[in-house]
């Protein structure tokens, strides 16, 4: 078990190196750079720009720049310098990464809490108005772009006279110390992004849960359990649901890239303090080290998430053994 984790973590290192090289190359393909704008600014002499470039090693060949960047990360935890903010990248990202992970985790929790019961319900009672309504919403959920849902929810809240849209806190709570009032204020803001991000996941997970449960309910051991005279509810929950959930955990890993993408997109719309708006601004301003770092970190989040999904599967399903 421990060896499996260690091996997986070690395998992440070459993968992250390749990813970092790819994103570094992609950013270099951008026409111009952050410093290009100063060349047209009469307040800066070309010599000044040259000096800044030399200071940051931007006049060196690309592979040297890349290796120096990697060296900085590995040896000093230095992810480069944000030209836009005039500060090292490392100091800027961690709080945003924290909010991103928080939002993603809350969304996953909500997705499972909503989707699994709905999936069970529609599998057990496939006909009826409730199941039809749930199905319709699930199809809609898969077709609705997350940013559009966010916009619709904002429009809805605004039309009801509400003001809790955008950001995580109302102005008076932004710098306030943590307390019940602040948490309540955050929740009042948080439900829009969570609903917008999780609808697609709920729709997909619910359909998978129903399909799995329908498969399992047709299995021989369910008939055996019924034949033994096990109570209906016990067959459903202990025998069927318990077995139907396992494949969903491995599917949870597959849904992570979409989740991270949605979180970023919805955060840009709602201006949440995650890596989303930060990535967007940095991309537009060609703040290259911030962009490469954020892309690298979002890949890292994805890999760690996949590992956790595999570990969860190991924990839930005793039949699975990783070597």
């Amino acid at each position: 078990m421990l060896r499996f984790v260690i091996r997986r973590v070690l395998l992440m290192v070459p993968a992250l190196l390749v990813v970092s090289a790819i994103v570094f190359a992609v950013i270099q393909l951008q026409p111009g750079g952050f410093l290009t704008q100063y060349l047209e600014d009469p307040r800066f002499s070309p010599q000044t720009v040259e000096t800044i470039k030399r200071q940051f090693g931007l006049d060196r060949p690309l592979h040297v720049q890349y290796l120096r960047w990697i060296q900085g990360i590995v040896t000093r935890g230095d992810f480069g310098y944000s030209f836009l903010n005039g500060r090292p990248v490392a100091g800027l990202i961690w709080e945003r990464v924290g909010w991103t992970v928080f939002l993603a985790l809350v969304t996953i929790a909500c997705t499972w809490v909503i989707a699994i019961p709905l999936g069970i319900y529609t599998a057990v009672r496939p006909r009826g108005a409730a199941a039809t309504a749930v199905n319709l919403v699930s199809y809609l959920g898969q077709a609705m772009p997350d940013f559009l849902l966010a916009l619709l929810l904002i429009a809805f809240v605004l039309s009801r006279g509400g003001a809790n849209v955008g950001g995580l806190f109302s102005p008076q709570y932004i710098d306030a110390p943590w307390g019940w009032a602040r948490v309540r204020d955050m929740l009042a803001h948080l439900w829009i992004p969570i609903a917008a991000i999780s609808l697609e996941g709920v729709a997909a997970l619910m359909r998978q849960m129903r399909a799995q449960l329908l498969d399992v309910l047709g299995a021989d051991y369910i008939r055996t359990a019924h034949a033994k005279g096990v109570a209906e509810q016990r067959v459903l929950w202990k025998h069927a649901v318990r077995n139907a959930v396992n494949p969903l955990i491995s599917l949870a890993g597959l849904s992570l890239p979409g989740l991270i993408s949605s979180t970023i997109l919805v955060s840009i719309v709602l201006n949440l303090p995650t890596i989303g708006p930060f990535l967007y601004d940095s991309l537009l301003n060609k703040d290259q080290y911030v962009v490469t770092t954020l892309l690298l970190i979002s890949s890292l989040l994805l890999m760690v998430g996949n590992l956790l999904a595999d570990l969860a599967l190991l924990w839930v399903d005793p039949r699975i053994r990783y070597q």
Partner: protein, 359 residues
């Protein structure tokens, strides 16, 4: 069932099965309609993509009336006039009920090129006024017209993108599955790494590579290229699995025995046999491109003015203020949902048909 002579019967069998799936048929009809609308968009749209009406910015949609003075009348709209509240400066639109504007068909408007012809007739319009059934935007452009013409970009991005991704995916996935071994391992690692970068961030990064100075048609191609560059990996992996499953079947061995080149075996023998599977995969992959383009354009990194796409039109509704005051700007979103839903339903029912065929 599997003999060559049975092929036409098999496809007609599939067609009969498909016809029985109600959601499949409905969504196919909806998609045909959408693409027909996209093709004829300049004719169907009452105004051009760029025609501005500065006096009528942010005009709410006009309603079509059919009853006048208690009697059924030719469909008409009331002209709208903008007034400003002298105290709050909020602009308000009032309908001039004294002057109904009957809706006329095949009216003359600005000229456009359609199917190689220069035309100036539009499906409908009014004389001596304006008709905006979905309102206008910040500079007084007709939202309905922009939405209709914008459907050309939104609906073709998926087709072109999937075509490019499939070309790459079939060749690389085919080679990977056919040869197995070192090449396969190598390609699979590359695909794994590509898939381990979250899609949206890398899409955004790639979209900023497209120079801002490019004309909008080239930006469109650039966006399609960016979407395909990310999209092929998943397709290649799926195709590889299918090729692996058939590479030891008799017909492949036979093709090899008569000395055909490997590439020819992959493209002319294996792929046609996987065709039903490929069609299903393509249909289910399409929504991803439509959604990807709309997300990029919505963020201002996709297609740019004077082109329009549904995502780009939604960008106008991005500010909280606009959302509150001008909710009709959200109309393009409905079309995104409808087209994506139609492709999903169509893919699902095609998959059911293909499943029954293969079993």
């Amino acid at each position: 069932m599997r003999q060559g002579a049975a092929v036409p019967r098999r496809s007609s069998l599939a067609w009969r099965r498909f016809r029985r799936s109600v959601p499949g048929v409905i969504s196919a009809a909806v998609l045909l309609l959408l693409y027909a609308v996209a093709l004829l968009a300049p004719f169907l749209a009452p105004y051009s993509l760029v025609e501005q009406h500065p006096a009528l910015t942010y005009q709410p949609p006009q309603r079509i009336h059919i009853i006048r003075e208690g009697r059924l009348a030719r469909p008409y709209v009331y002209p709208m006039a903008k007034t400003r509240d002298p105290v709050t400066f909020v602009s308000r639109f009032t309908a001039d009920t004294s002057r109904p504007l009957p809706i006329r068909f095949f009216v003359r408007g600005d000229s456009y090129a359609l199917l190689g012809l220069r035309l100036d007739r539009h499906l409908f319009g009014v004389d001596g006024g304006t008709v905006f059934l979905l309102g206008t935007d910040a500079v007084g452009r007709c939202v309905l017209s922009r939405l209709l013409v914008g459907s050309r970009v939104s609906l073709t991005v998926g087709i072109v993108g999937v075509a490019i991704s499939f070309a790459i995916g079939i060749v690389l996935g085919g080679l990977s599955g056919y040869y197995a071994g070192v090449l396969d391992t190598l390609l699979q690692r590359v695909i794994e790494i590509l898939l381990s970068i979250p899609r949206l961030p890398i899409l955004l990064a790639l979209a900023t590579v497209i120079p801002a100075s490019w004309p909008s048609t080239r930006v469109y191609l650039g966006i399609v290229a960016v979407l395909s560059l990310i999209g092929w990996a998943g397709l290649a992996r799926v195709i590889r699995g299918q090729v692996m499953a058939v590479r030891h079947l008799e017909y492949v061995t036979a093709a090899r025995a008569i000395g055909l080149r490997d590439m020819r075996i992959i493209l002319r023998h294996i792929m046609p046999n996987l065709s039903s599977y490929l069609i299903v995969t393509a249909t289910l992959a399409l929504p991803g491109y439509i959604l990807g383009e709309s997300a990029l354009s919505f963020l201002g990194l996709g297609v740019k003015e004077p082109m329009a796409s549904w995502g780009l039109l939604l960008r106008d509704a991005q500010s909280f203020n606009a959302l509150h005051l001008y909710p009709w700007l959200l109309a393009p979103g409905a079309l995104i949902v409808i087209s994506v839903m139609a492709f999903n339903f169509l893919g699902d029912s095609l998959r059911d048909v293909a499943d029954i065929q293969s079993s």
